[in-house]
Symmetry: C2
Subunit: 392 residues, 2 copies
């Protein structure tokens, strides 16, 4: 009771600080806090909204769709996946949801029992902890590989117990930008298959994929559900179509999932119980926009500015392979202290790493203008010089 409101995410804390500055009319700062896509939604999205407004009677457009979304939309999603990943999904595998977060919370609600363990890979999107705790499960943190931030398969293997019900992976990764290799995902699949057998229960893999299409250097994110049969895929168009405020995504239950129809129904029931149902208008819009490409080149250009700029100054930074976050090693060990100093002295608003499950790092969301990125570099340089380089 009351507990969920007690804490505020580190991301939102910094975001609110910068919002307050904006309200004061201040512009002399750099806001790297929230993953609010900077690239605007493609013009076709607004065109399609206008189109459906003319095409449907208000009762059909704004009325109740089935809780899992209109069949035509679910069919369009399945078709799009099948074309891209040589899969064989149907509308009966797709539940439309209020964003990817809605898909995750409904999946956890549907497939876990209070007291079970859910494994997350550090550093991880801090909201996972809330989604997990909401259903009275335990959030078990397992570190990724130190240098590459790839999956540490042995560490995951060791963390699995008879209480484990689920593992959450997020590739491309927020906050490190790592894209997990297909090889390591297949190895994870082997581990989960073996553990499910050993403990005579299904251990689910939840694949959180809002950045799926935002991969650099021509790479493609592996299709995680190919690597393990009991994968639930959670997706949203928040990042690929720059629609984070519109809460539109889906959960996919591939036909390979054990007791498929029971799992699908559980998910649908869970989303009805918690009301992470997406809105009708955007379901129609997505149906017509599902094939639009994500603005990969634009984020790739931004990555280059910030990654190369910071590296040149002397910062230790992880080269992002996807998503739009840069993971930067703090100049002192205490990430809170470092981020406070960056904000106070240089007006650089970064998110400290402790909330992500590890210390000594800061997250930079580079979903901002090229100008914000390039003009921030002299401030980063002054910060570096004021520390005299790395102090630990």
């Amino acid at each position: 009771m009351y507990e969920f409101g007690a804490g505020k995410s580190a991301i939102r804390t910094v975001f609110e600080e910068t919002c307050a500055l904006r309200e004061q009319g201040r512009t002399d700062f750099w806001d790297f806090s929230i993953g609010n896509p900077y690239v605007p939604a493609p013009p076709k999205v607004n065109e399609t909204i206008r189109e459906v407004l003319g095409q449907y009677a208000p009762i059909d457009l704004h009325g109740y769709p089935p809780n899992n979304g209109w069949p035509a939309t679910r069919a369009a999603v399945a078709k799009n996946l099948n074309e891209r990943f040589s899969t064989n999904y149907s509308m009966g595998d797709v539940v439309m949801t209020g964003g990817c977060a809605g898909a995750i919370t409904a999946t956890i609600c549907a497939l876990t029992t209070a007291g079970e363990d859910i494994i997350v890979i550090t550093p991880y999107f801090p909201e996972y902890r809330m989604y997990i705790q909401a259903w009275k499960c335990k959030c078990i943190e397992v570190p990724s590989e130190p240098e590459t931030f790839q999956l540490d398969i042995d560490a995951i293997k060791k963390a699995i117990t008879p209480c484990t019900r689920m593992v959450i992976v997020n590739t491309p990764n927020n906050p490190t930008g790592a894209v997990y290799s297909e090889e390591s995902l297949r190895a994870l699949g082997d581990v989960l298959r073996e553990a499910s057998k050993r403990y005579q229960k299904t251990i689910y893999l939840l694949s959180d994929e809002p950045y799926r299409e935002i991969c650099y250097d021509g790479a493609q994110n592996p299709w995680v559900a190919d690597c393990y049969e009991n994968t639930i895929v959670c997706y949203s168009w928040s990042k690929s179509l720059s629609l984070p405020g519109e809460r539109v995504g889906y959960a996919l239950v591939p036909p390979t999932v054990t007791n498929h129809s029971m799992v699908y129904d559980a998910l649908l029931g869970a989303q009805r119980a918690v009301n992470t149902i997406t809105n009708s208008l955007f379901t129609r819009v997505i149906e017509r926009c599902v094939d639009l490409p994500a603005p990969v080149e634009e984020y790739e250009r931004k990555r280059k500015i910030i990654y190369e700029g910071l590296k040149e100054i002397g910062y230790e930074v992880v080269r992002p392979q996807g998503a739009f976050y840069l993971w930067l090693k703090c100049l002192e060990e205490d990430d809170h202290s470092f981020c406070r100093r960056a904000a106070a002295e240089q007006h650089l608003f970064l998110v400290e790493s402790t909330d992500f499950g590890c210390s000594g790092w800061a997250r930079i969301s580079y979903a901002c203008s090229d100008e914000t990125l390039s003009t921030s570099l002299p401030a980063f340089k002054r910060l570096f010089d004021s520390y005299g380089g790395y102090q630990w």
Copy 2:
């Protein structure tokens, strides 16, 4: 685990049957299943959508709003309530949510602890049971007054124990159309105040008000929060603006609520954990449409057709004072059997009452065309005659 998907609501079961008939091209049936408003959304809604598409850059329009909604929208909601109910609310009392159901589930998540009791008044909207069970609370059913379906204050009083954390009221009521009197709500407030004191805990009143504006004969729904200081008001524009598919509503935490800011933060945290967050576009639309009137006269005309028609045939029906449902006493004691026979023999699709927590009744949603209503009456007459009137 899996349990939420196990059952299907009686409403949705009938709705899906009629959807299947429609897909077969059948039109020789009457669908009274779901509360999908028949009156279209006012033209201003679509006009406003077009307006905001032109007014905001896509990044601002479709980007992340604060989780509790844009300040301007919350201020517009508070202002509208203050003008209508002589209250003194501010934007800091309002959390925008994904519909009224989202507001309810977030409120239950925020303000209860697993194992506590939540009292509902039978007959009640069956989804309450799911929202309650999702948070591992117990759904305690307390009957309303037999003839009037008003609150039975003594029965509620007797049902309160040290485990009680919340009472849910719904006025105008789905399914009976009862509008609770201010007098009885004040008496309920007295009972809850006294019990809170006795058990040294805050017992909350959750007021579920999606039909708030749909009251007949010039009546107005009492402002429930005036009757008890620890009321949380849950609302949506699903019915008043005919937007049930768009999932836009709010929870209001009046300043009188004990530990106001803690409760508000808990609610905001809960809705972040479960992701019942409303979409950005419709938040902007509602901000500009909050003052639009609900189509009361149209539903009043529909009520007259169905209520008087059925009464004339000889059915026992409750005269709705609000909402758009008619509560009809079945011709035999077994409501399941009655509703099956009505569908099979006369193609009348009604919802049986057992799911609403009482037996022997059926719900008719008269949110349908005048023609559907009037052409159904001969079929209702044949059904009545086939039974030879009431058999119990």
